[in-house]
Amino acid sequence: MAAVGVAAAAWPFIDQMNPSAAALALSTVEVDLSPVAAGQQIVVKWRGHPLFVRHRTPAEIDSAKKVEVSSLPDPLARNANKPETASAADEDRVIKPEWLILIGVCTHLGCTPTGFEGDYGGWLCHCHGSQYDTSGRIRKGPAPENLAVPPYAFLTDTRVKVG
């Protein structure tokens, strides 16, 4: 009984550390895609994190599709719009192949990787050397997972809502 009482009294003091209502309220953002040409990437802030919105070229899409899923360090899609068990095949990383939308947080220790760098033409994280391909999948370095894909939906052909 005493333990339950102590736990109940402690909980508010623990839970106050979690994101407040104000932090939770800021959790969607709308992005206009029309100014982003093929081969470009824009960075948008979402939930305090950078969000990569990359307009891929056909060559980049091709190189991402050619990779054998079984050869990837992380075989899962990490895509909030697909089932958790979806594979890391390029089709499961995107909704429309030309638009790759990723949370720009290295899955190692949270730095922001730099675009169009590294051996795989995707992203290179300068902090500890993780390299991602043109589908945002981890290929080399200490990061354990592919760059996460946030929940998003196309409102129109050139407008996307993230969160």
């Binding site: 994101p19 407040s20 932090a23 939930r47 305090g48 190692h108 922001t112 300068h126």
Partner: protein, 418 residues
Amino acid sequence: MSGPSTYNPKSGFEKWIDQRLPLPRLMHDTIQTFPTPRNLNIWYTFGGILTFCLAVQILTGIVLAMHYVANAGLAFDSVEAIMRDVNYGWLIRFMHANGASMFFLAVYIHMFRGLYYGSYKAPRELIWIIGVLIYLLMMATAFFGYVLPWGQMSFWGATVITNLFSAIPVIGSHIATWLWGDFAVGDATLNRFFSLHYLLPFIIAGVVGLHIWALHVPGNNNPLGIDVKSPQDTVPFHPYYTIKDGFYLCLFVIVFAGFVFYAPDFFGNPDNYEQANPLVTPPDIVPEWYLLPFYAMLRSIPNKLMGVIVMGGAIVTLFFLPWLDTSRVRSCRFRPLMKQFFWALVVVCVLLGYCGSQGVDAAIAGIPLLWVARLATLYYFAFFWILMPIIGLIETPKKLPASIAQSVLGDSAAAAAE
């Protein structure tokens, strides 16, 4: 604090106090008459120096908190205002920032001294363990403090360190969110770090009290590592060690002031004079120098969870030190084999620090630093978990002197003094 008290209250007022709150008795017994080995050398003055460092950090910190604003939008500007507008703000902030480095410099010397002279061995295990706890609290405090100026290194340092917790399976990401109070390091994080940065030094002060209390039960170890056998072996703490500690404290303060006045940004990183930007990570993230060896260990492991475990294990290992050393002799002065491995450990720790300060792909004389760091990490763990237990068993120590007095004064003088 322990043992028979030699306090003798003189006036009626002192007697009145002594019967109600024997604080003067405590002070008299701990810093005046406390019997201290007569052979303590320069390396034993760092306990006093560390107490001084803590006092400086608390004093300058309280002043800085009067001018600092813990808000992500205002923090950086408020620090610049301290540097430019507050009277002597530049001096107090540079004392605080360099004071942290001096604090760690002193604590590393203090720890290696304990390691060399076997000060962690029975009956002083708890002094060592409490000391490691203080070291952990110092690292946490320094980390929280480094975040407060809200520069680029503050922000990304906080991001990397808090993300270490996300390596924990299943609940890791929830712990990280809980630490941040948001989905990334932000205003909520800055506020709680400020609160904790203000709190922890006072916790450290309390634990330092326990450290000294535990020290005053068996008394000081000494460079010979042998027990005090007679009053001949000791001198009263005051005036002998108050003078000695005071002298070396003055030398230490000269070095400290040298940094504050002539190279105030020597330990700092230029990137931290740029305001935090959550969208751009600086090309080279480097922690403060005193954390570099652990950072090198983290980076040398290609797996995230294992890297975090190895880094944490390097500190947790220190808690087991008293039981890993199997030697019956304390001081490395009488341990010819251990002495060599000890100095190799010092070199390895410095080397790890160097590796941590360089980029991920750096090399030295064609050897990738990644592999240097891996070998150095291996030696660090092998030293404590393999070498230490084995050397204690196979080593033949040199002959120990009969007593501290005999060693210091020679046979005849010691006999004459009996």
